[in-house]
Amino acid sequence: MAQRLQKELANFMRDPIPGMSLDRNLVEGNLNVWVINVDGAPNTLYEGEIFKLQFKFPQRYPFDSPSVMFIGNKIPEHPHIYSNGHICLSILTDEWSPALSVQSVCLSIVSMLSSCKAKSRPPDDERYVQTCRDPSDPKKTRWFFHDDSV
């Protein structure tokens, strides 16, 4: 696992996704938690905004999916992103495959943000944020996916 993460890190540095960069301070010494700075892409609703995306890798990564969420005080306002940073994205749970990587997850999130037509929170945001099992780990939630248009 360490080897895979090393290589993923190297790939990420070598082939960065536009608008995404690793927050170096947080990576030092600990490969199991990554924080990625996300710049809102130009010509999207999020232009000029800066978010922090956190990846936590479990022991059995990549056979077990990473736990991914937005952190900090800026959480993108998006119909699939709850105000506590949890992201409703199928590849993070049910459709996770060990052949996916940090890069593929990042790409999904970027495209999710870019295709957003109107800023809003998920309809059940308030209820979910109050009742979710573990605010620090979206994987503890059982997700149901119903809308893949955004």
């Binding site: 495959s97 060990p98 052949a99």
Partner: protein, 582 residues
Amino acid sequence: MEKRSTKASSNDPKHKHDPDDEDFYLNNDDDEYDDDEDDDNDYDDYMDDTDDLEYTSSNASKYDPTPSVEIFTSQNSTVTPNSSYASTSLKNLSQSTTNQPDLSKSLTKRNIELDEEFKYEVLSPDKIVQYMTECIADVNSVLELTPTITRTLLHHFKWDKEKLMERFYDGDQDRLFREAHIVSPFRPNTYKRTTSSQSTRSSRLKEFCCEICFMQYTEDNMSGLECGHKFCKPCWREYLTTKIMDEGMGQTISCAAHKCDILVDDTSVMTLLQDPIVKIKYQHLITNSFVECNRLMRWCPAPNCSNAIKAQYFDAQPVKCDCGHVFCFSCGELWHDPVKCKWLKKWIKKCDDDSETSNWIAANTKECPKCQVTIEKNGGCNHMICKNQACRSEFCWVCLGPWEPHGSSWYNCNRFNEDDAKKARDAQEKSRHALQRYLHYCNRYMNHHQSLKLEQKLTASIREKMEEMQQHNMSWIEVQFLRKAVEVLCQCRQTLMYTYAFAFYLKRNNHSIIFEDNQADLEIAVEKLSGYLEREITSDNAVETKQKVQDKYRYCEQRRKVLLDHVHEGYDKDYWEYQEDL
């Protein structure tokens, strides 16, 4: 090709001949069981025949949840008059009982008048696998696919051969394969493209990069399915292990690539996996889905038993597993003649959940006639003043009418027939009656249930008495009537127990009255027999007692048959009407 079975045992010849592995396959519980048995045998070796008793009960206690059935099989081998048997192992013993053919036969007959028409087979885990292979071969002789594809297809159709055949020949085959998540064997090219592009890119290196661990591997260390997605073997192993051990998936594991829904076939799984524990778990999951999907098969519900029953057709019939457990093929409960599965299920649910709580409330409390708050009267006089501060109404507990007209007759209510008071009382009466009725049936059902649970204890005490009698004036064969009596007793109790579930839902008519008479008659006879067995057997009046017990158990047997025949006749001739709403 068709010889290549889909099961591990034939893919991996070593596995097949390795006895340890085979044990493993039976599942871990079984393994434990075997160990126990061995221990007991060792233990047995130290014992002489007088300790026989202790051994049997310790052995029998393992079967606690189904004592009624198992104990007889263990007895079968251990209660013998000669010490020569005591040191023989349990397994040999069951064979050696051929020395007493009559006895062993009568003992295993417990609880069954199996319908001769209803044909079924008991399949051990190995046989289940074999049967699955046969089913596949059978379909394959027509479809001419690989066993692995056929198996996946069969699973997709819940092992309904006809349905598969119909779809295979009538419909769109590509769609069929797509729905079953298989790469169509007739159009292999659509998927292969991915591989070829991958291989040309990395053929210079003669190494492939595994997309999971990002390591370089030579081609022979890579593996993949028909869909063409290749990963290194260690990653495959890890992936499959996670799916099998953590997620309990068998038949439904798909390719590790993202968004690829092609199912991993069993041959690939068995070749890729190395850890025998994971392999066994996988096979277990596969056989489990085979048995559970198959309408004509059912697992034996006895604890620690890994056999399955295969029937010719689906019906509510008693089946007896090789482990001795007798159960209903249709619902898996203990054999519950005369009540039907549907009503038994309803009954068990009723007894389990606390829907009766509300009945209790209805029967033991009243509502304030003004504000409807629920009141339980736990003392005091009949002049009630509602505690609800907003209500404070005064009424009479007896007639539920307002208190005022009662005047000074503080403790007696003579206004019994006022209309609204009467209505309130009627409703009360009704729910009270319903509760009483339920409790009547439930108590009797539970009573027999409890007595059946004590069967082991009774068997042990009877065994003691048998030995005692043998020491006086009777021979071994002469005291066997006692064992038969216990058998009949338990059989009757089981039948009686289920008659209460049957009777609870029954509407009253002439036949239900006959039924109740039969039930009462059997009930009395059974209690008498039970009384004899518990108290009156002493060595002093052995001959007389024997006659009495024998008469009684024969009578019980006969009455039981009469009762069951009457109910069955009723099923045929539609005597029975049910109260659906209970």
